[in-house]
Symmetry: C3
């Protein structure tokens, strides 16, 4: 029950000069004026929001509210939609995403959606964290003991990419190995399954179908179920638009069909 | 003649702290400072704007000013380019797009470009409408008697999508039928031909070529002519960039060639 | 040595009400608070920024700091990421990009990424230029003597595009010839090689792989080396995200392999 009122405000936040200072909570009346704006200008949109998104989508059992929050944050940061970010950052905290995980999500997306997206998200998260009294002690250190690496799998990936593109963009290929797969992905503050979840979400949300195959397989290797994967697409339909998800559907289907049972 | 001065300001609006409060009219001098900015910093850009976009593109007879406004709004909302939205919302009203149609356009694009895009547009439209004294009486209700449904066509679509993706993302497939094709598309406040026009425009403007075939055919079933379709692309070249339209060209050509004569 | 401290601030700028007024220099302490924000909220991100982006990427010898600035500006403008634009405009000036070239870059990108992107960039550049005392005398005129045209090559291009799409979108095809290839590309304020560089960068940064082949070949005809092209991708990985560059890699590889030696 506790989550419902928290979510009720979720479609109503909007950019304004004051927005960054306010919505550090999802439980307040601060968002209400916007509900009224939606109701006044686009009553059907407000109705869909209440009945379908709040009243149905977020309650579907096939994906947890925590996972839905992670998927939604990834979509918003990947699309640089800072307007709704304060609300969904706060909702994510309410739904059990840890501050340290949010810090890692933003850092991860710097590489998977562009540096400026992450820098914008940092600024917004700063205000949300401040409003909740979240300090440096709850955030991950710059460096930490790494998670174990699947040496064989990584060697295979690096060899494949190196053979294919090592002569085309040697710097890019080297950074991919050194910075991404031998550093970023091994940071302990976020489970590999969650890193895969946000990577896949960001790819779908930005229409990058070409790399869904690799990362969705990686996600499913890390225990994302087929049912959850389908529900990730369903969640993203509302937050990244129907076309992005329909462009992803054939690729996701192909991955599912080719997985070993 | 009345439209020309209205359009003269159209390339000049820009985000600033004050922008949302001002440009609720397209007929004023408020935009002039920006023309001066363009002229000062990028005189060639200002020249192209005056001679090509204002002086030529918007006057081309193969697509009405009203349709051009709808296409342009769809592109700006789909790309979340709120900076120029106040001006083009006002211009759309001047060009005969009804307030109720703008409300429906925004609601429609929530599903075809992502929820946050629509919420941002609502906030901006609110100010534009307020500046013109447009009240709730001119806006559509949340629910209304539906337009007639092509049951056979919709059954065929639903069956095809269900067979292909029903096991991949059952929630997404169900929402597509229930919320989109049996509800949103049947709302009476916007002609089906116009819904198709904004859907195609949003797809082109966001580089989503995969779904142009279905929606352009639907648009042409609803009386969008081949000449108008080509002119939609021409309009979008300026507002969504040349690459998006050139990526769409082969798909649009293919649709045109396969249409029954 | 002079460039290093200038770059140190480069990952730290963020949108705020005050941001547009301040960062007209890359050499100040104004950006420092943001470094502290990054360090506080996402220490790993700040570490990657200092060690990899500032400490390594920008120093790589295979692409000049000037070219890296041009590539980065193109990516930010193409993605409408105005937040970091003030800093990177100032850095570009420090790295030897002339004010007149920046004006031309923005004008060029109006056509290759959408008009609103350019208008937003104009407003931000205005403040940066003002802060440095850059006046109209340093900016290009609206019209100027054109660079020589490769008549045979352009006739071939126009004929090919006309045959393929002249019946689909005649207006678009005509504007492409008249406005783009017989006007914009011939403006003298920016070397053709640099126009190609920003066009390719914008295509990669927005996931428009279909047109990379034509424009990368054109860039390499204009003396962009294979090594530089690979390094452009490497630079873009950080500023437009890994997925955009990995989607471009197969196309870039194909272009390189098919070039006459």
């Amino acid at each position: 029950m506790k989550k419902i009122p928290a979510i009720i405000a979720c479609l109503c936040l909007i950019a304004s000069t004051a927005v960054r200072a306010e919505p550090t909570t999802t439980k307040g009346s601060t968002a209400m004026p916007m509900t009224e704006d939606l109701r006044a200008l686009a009553p059907a949109l407000e109705k869909y929001g209440q009945t379908i998104v709040i009243g149905d989508l977020w309650k579907r059992p096939s994906l947890s509210a925590r996972d839905r929050s992670i998927v939604t944050l990834a979509a918003l940061i990947a699309r640089n939609q800072t307007v709704e970010l304060p609300y969904y950052l706060a909702l994510a905290l309410d739904n059990g995403v840890k501050p340290s995980e949010i810090s890692e999500i933003i850092t991860h997306l710097a590489f998977y959606t562009g540096w400026a997206n992450a820098v914008s998200a940092v600024q917004i998260a700063k205000d949300v964290f401040k409003g909740r009294g979240i300090g440096a002690d709850q955030l991950p250190a710059a460096s930490a003991a790494q998670l174990p690496l699947d040496e064989a799998g990584e060697a295979q990936r690096a060899s494949r990419v190196g053979q294919e593109f090592g002569n085309v963009a040697p710097g890019l290929v080297q950074y991919t190995t050194d910075v991404l797969f031998r550093d970023l992905w091994l940071r302990p503050g976020l489970a590999p399954r969650d890193r895969s979840l946000i990577t896949v979400s960001a790819l779908v949300a930005t229409g990058q179908v070409a790399q869904i195959t690799y990362h969705l397989n990686r996600a499913m290797d890390n225990e994302l179920t087929q049912e959850q994967a389908g529900e990730v697409l369903t969640q993203l339909a509302f937050y990244a638009g129907w076309p992005n998800t329909f462009s992803a559907l054939p690729v996701v289907k192909d991955v599912m069909e080719k997985r070993p049972r």
